[in-house]
Amino acid sequence: MIDREEVLHVARLARLALSEEEIEPMARELSAVLDHVAAIAELDLENVAPTSHVVEVTGRLRPDEPRPSWTREEILAAAPDANEDGFLVPSPQA
């Protein structure tokens, strides 16, 4: 029920490269799971509110009081690529 084109479209939305060998099994497995979950389409859910929060929590806000930020060294330590100022990425304009 999900074809190759749909798999590639969704993979693009998810920013996920798929190798040629991964595409067909992915289509098959996604179809199997979606077939299974399609059972909920048969339930009568008229007038049922969707759950947005499992437990009601209200008014949980934070006071607007600054706390020290982290040092640049700390935050850049785990970066795959960085210079002294910040994180480097291949340019989106390139």
Partner: protein
């Protein structure tokens, strides 16, 4: 300004982002800053580190409600944040926390212009193109500075009640004065604390029907806003006069050349 003898009128709506004058970011306790060295105002939350969670800034919510009251909006009894998912290096979590179907404020007006909604969201980080000087692995590099990322924004959306570039400019000045008096924002266009997008379409004068609109993005001074809107109105008039039709798209106005160009790259990232 004629098409088969009929007059065309411009229909303009504005989307204004104002940075709120809080001490800290929307969802974390990092101090807001302007002009400081890059990446010196960050923490696990505004960097989107694994496991971190947002907690909303009470004063930002308060400022949002003040804006709503000043504009005569209806204030939401409850307000829910949503995730707007797209991939871009200026967006550390892969989504922007914004409001969707339950904005903080609905309706209202300022002067003759009706307000559609006001909602809260977080600003993106700053991406600076380094060009060939910062090449990584054979391609040009950009540097990401997360100082601005997570700054609280109020997005004010008007109804399409403006009819000319001049009127839009005047009204925006009124909005700026109002926000400044409220003390909710510095509303400084040069520092980016006031940013404006315009939705522009043309229709036969007197008609109730709206034409196809274009969105003119991120104009960063009052002068450019008026010039940009004027240029886009002229472009659409010429297009229609030549027998063409306007296509819905996002546009960029280059104040240096006066040129209007299509801007699609980031849109493609959206679902």
């Amino acid at each position: 300004m004629s098409e088969q003898g009929g007059e065309l009128e411009a229909v303009i709506g504005l989307e204004i982002h104002i940075q709120l004058a809080t001490a800290t970011k929307m969802f974390c306790s990092c101090a807001l800053s302007f002009g400081d060295p890059p990446n010196t105002h960050t923490c696990p939350v505004c960097l989107g580190l694994p496991g971190s969670l947002p907690v909303a800034n009470a004063r930002a919510v308060h400022f949002g409600l003040m804006i709503g009251l000043a504009l005569g909006s209806e204030l939401a009894p409850r307000s829910i944040f949503h995730r707007k998912n797209y991939f871009y290096p200026d967006l550390p979590k892969g989504y922007q926390i914004s409001q969707y179907d339950e904005p903080l404020c609905r309706g209202g007006h300022l002067g003759e212009v009706r307000i559609h909604r006001v909602h809260l969201e977080e600003d993106a980080a700053k991406l600076t193109h380094l060009g060939a000087s910062g090449r990584i692995h054979g391609s040009d590099a950009s540097i990401v500075d997360f100082n601005r990322g997570g700054t609280p924004l109020a997005e004010i959306v008007t109804e399409p009640d403006l009819r000319s570039a001049e009127q839009a400019g005047e009204w925006l000045k009124l909005l700026r004065t109002t926000m400044r008096r409220l003390g909710v924002s510095d509303v400084n266009m040069e520092e980016g604390s006031l940013r404006c997008d315009a939705n522009i379409s043309l229709r036969a004068a007197g008609s109730e029907q709206l034409g196809v609109k274009t969105e003119l993005k991120n104009m960063n001074s009052f002068r450019f806003i008026e010039r940009g809107i004027r240029a886009e109105i002229a472009r659409q008039q010429k297009l229609i006069a030549g027998g063409g039709t306007v296509t819905q798209e996002t546009l960029h106005f280059d104040p240096a050349s006066g040129a209007i160009t299509s801007l699609r790259s980031k849109e493609e990232a959206h679902d």
